[in-house]
Symmetry: C2
Subunit: 204 residues, 2 copies
């Protein structure tokens, strides 16, 4: 699994109590007031240091946002991974994977809206956090397809890369936060119907 920390030039020590405090404060403020309405000065006040000090640990407000966004996406990934591991076939794993990704994203939308908005913003602005998320999802999918091909569940003619790309494009409306937002009324049936279509396409 690739790491979520963006390849940007990190500033200051990666491990530091104050850095953790900033993250904690940011998580709280972003969740409560939203990314835009939270100022760096707010975060500074929250942890009892000056604004300038925050810039010893993060090169920008966006970097903090990416960190919050990334760790939330990581949680979705790891929960999804857990669900996949309970699958008893590649078919089952694929169903579980997308079921988990869509329901957990929708959950985020309904129960942690402000954080969800950050992920949507992250996707729109192509932040490192969501690029890394997409890449990890791609890797997870490739793993399942490979498994299914080895076990004889899935066909082996189509190039693996193309298969993965096409599947992700097809699921985009339900995975990409930006698109999901507009398709909430199609949950939970639509994504499952697309997964069924995908599975038919994978038949040997």
């Amino acid at each position: 699994m690739t790491t979520f920390t963006p390849d940007a030039p990190a500033r200051g020590p990666a491990e530091h109590a104050v850095r953790d405090q900033i993250i904690a404060a940011a998580h709280q403020c972003f969740a409560r007031y939203g990314y835009a309405k939270t100022t760096v000065a707010d975060l500074a006040k929250e942890i009892g240091f000056s604004k300038a000090y925050i810039y010893r640990f993060f090169e920008s407000k966006q970097a903090i946002g990416e960190e919050i966004c990334g760790s939330r996406l990581e949680k979705i990934i790891s929960e999804t991974q857990d669900s996949i591991e309970k699958g008893d076939s590649a078919t089952d794993c694929l169903r579980r994977m997308f079921k988990s990704l869509t329901t957990r994203s929708a959950d985020l939308f309904f129960h942690d809206r402000k954080i969800y908005d950050i992920t949507a913003h992250s996707a729109a602005e192509r932040w490192g956090s969501s690029e890394a998320y997409k890449e990890t999802v791609r890797e997870m999918l490739a793993e399942i397809i490979k498994l299914g091909r080895e076990s004889g569940e899935f066909e082996r003619k189509t190039p693996l890369d193309e298969t993965c790309r096409a599947i992700l494009y097809a699921m985009m409306p339900f995975i990409d936060p930006l698109h999901l937002e507009r398709n909430l009324d199609l949950l939970p049936d639509a994504p499952q119907e697309v997964v069924s279509l995908i599975l038919r396409s994978l038949a040997p």
Copy 2:
């Protein structure tokens, strides 16, 4: 094919020289300055009548927008229909259908941006014009699938409705103007790869 005129209570006579003048002026102004920047008063001045008179023919500015939007979408539909008719198999028809829809939509984006923006707005606001468009696309697709099933090209187990829905969901990123806009960098390969996946899923 369903008509594009929204089921709204149309105002005034449907056939009328002045009505046509309004449409012509609207098309010109919308294409040049955009829907938002064009005022109803602008249209009135353009055709030499008063603003109030326009409301004898259209119940709102949106109704005019829907008309412009709808007729442009109708053009895409009819051109696509033409292309489909040249297909020599259901498989070919399906490829042609989506190839035509995506390239013509992208074309609209690049060469008639202001009009494209209206279609995107129409999709976002769920205007009648784009609902009708989506419905017509669904009908076109169902027709092709039925043909393919009859000729033995496509499988017959999955319910027709579900097949059509799933295919449209999967192609949404490249058909829906709202989504297409964000995926222009994936053209022209991505939609074709998804169509290939769809065709694999339709194999008997």
